[in-house]
Amino acid sequence: MSGVSKWYGTFKVLNEVSLEIQRGERVVVCGPSGSGKSTLIRCINRLEEHQKGDIYVKGIELNDSVKNIAAIRSSLGMVFQSFNLFPHLTVLENLTIGPTLVRHMKRKDAEERAMHFLRKVRIPEQAHKYPLQLSGGQQQRVAIARSLCMEPEIMLFDEPTSALDPEMIKEVLDTMIELAESGMTMIVVTHEMGFARTVADNVILMADGNIVERAEPGEFFSHPKHERTRTFLDQILKH
């Protein structure tokens, strides 16, 4: 991603952002509210369209070509702050709808794969419930499993735990840590600094549409180079 800019109307949300992420790398993005973190990762899978600069995912350019967008999206998984499960489908159907409809997988194989990932996120017994009958933490784990069923190579997380109660945050973070240990490339927007410290290869601080600092977690937390990072960390760690 290089020199990417995006405007909402006349408001510039992303300001010439350049960023390169290697296969297998885990990157945590943090920064104050409204700094453009969500916009950044939503641009990567075209939920938002960038207006300037280039984005390449696995060497494929993200442009208006429907084919390229589909190719890029098929290697990306996305987890949202508000889960966005399909409320009219059971947990199992939420997990199989992508593989059967998009990948033309046989129902039986898709269900097998779905149960495999439900066991991974440790809620196989909820397969036949509806999303709204689950706790927030369970819903978010279903959402993670739903993305994994599409066998993505890169997972994007947009504040996956900020809509959850403290007890549930841990179960979701545990799932994400396991995912990281399996070698998945991950870009995670989060304010969970503990997670950043233990899992991330790199931590990025965004402010006002700019990447202010990018460093390894040790470096980032103990010797931040920028004044902006220091004030942000002070604020966050005070709580």
Partner: protein
Amino acid sequence: MARSEILEHHAELPPVLASGPWRWMHRHFFSSVGQTFLTIVVAAITIRTLWFLLQWAVLDAVWVASGPQACRDAAGACWAVIVEKHRPILFGMYPYDQHWRLVLMIVIYLTTVIASLTPACWKRSILIPMWIAAVTAITVLMFGGVFGLPYVPTSEWGGLPLTIILFTGSVLFGMPIAVLLALGRRSPLPVARGLSVVFIESLRGVPLITILFVAVNIFPLFLPAGMEVNKLLRITLSIAVFFACYQAEVIRGGLQAIPRGQYEAAASLNMTYWQTTLRIILPQALRICLPAMTNHIIAAMKNTSFVIIIGLFDILTATTAVMQDPLWRQFYIEAYLFVALIYLVFGLALSMYARRVESWVAVGRI
């Protein structure tokens, strides 16, 4: 399955509050002087009215009579008029000795519809063959001309079967059109959006009778010579389109209630526009607007009377025509009550079914 799990979870029941019929009566009817007074007045009026109705409709009524004179001598209702005239009211001008075909048609229709509304039958492998069989059977019965059945042109159709055909046809054709119009109106493509808006707004602004007039009298002028589209079909499609314009606005409301996150989740699974629409968005939107859709479906049932403009008599207009008979004319109230009862049965069945579906939706059964 999910439901019973929930129930088991809360096996302990809430404490039973003091209750009983007297307590309930006291709370709702006699809790103050004013309310007690009101209760007594309303009760008196109700009893008086019910007594009058009972006398008129049952005690003093004439049920069978050899002629209208017996009715004129009685003080109560003349149900004999229905015994006398039920055939032309129910079946219109369809040849008298062929009425058994219509009875069979109604039986097939009701069976098919009731089966289609039962969740156990909601499988393509059941619904599609069943409807093909039913439509074929009903077409053969109505038209005849094969298997030794005399041919009956649409111009002789009438009564309840005609009402049923118009109603079912307009809902079956109308719903898909409504969905397309609603989607078109929210489409990212300006052409689709523009067409839908113009279509919906122009047809909604015109009375149905005008649309029917155009379909019957003006539309044929645009057809190439020699080509003819059956009048009844034209009427059905016109009612369908009119119904669709209203229904489209209801469905649009349902679509608007779907949060953006649903589209985004579908997009991130790489689903196409139509996959997202058919599998994610519409199922949720239609559930949301079910009560409002039921409204328009019930209204559509009553629009069928407009076939009168091509000289066909549905059940309501057939009654008007039948009651021109000078011998029985004065007992038109009874005849109309009979027709009202038939509409009421269908209408109530529809709204009760819709309410049942809503409750299924609420517990996540469908």
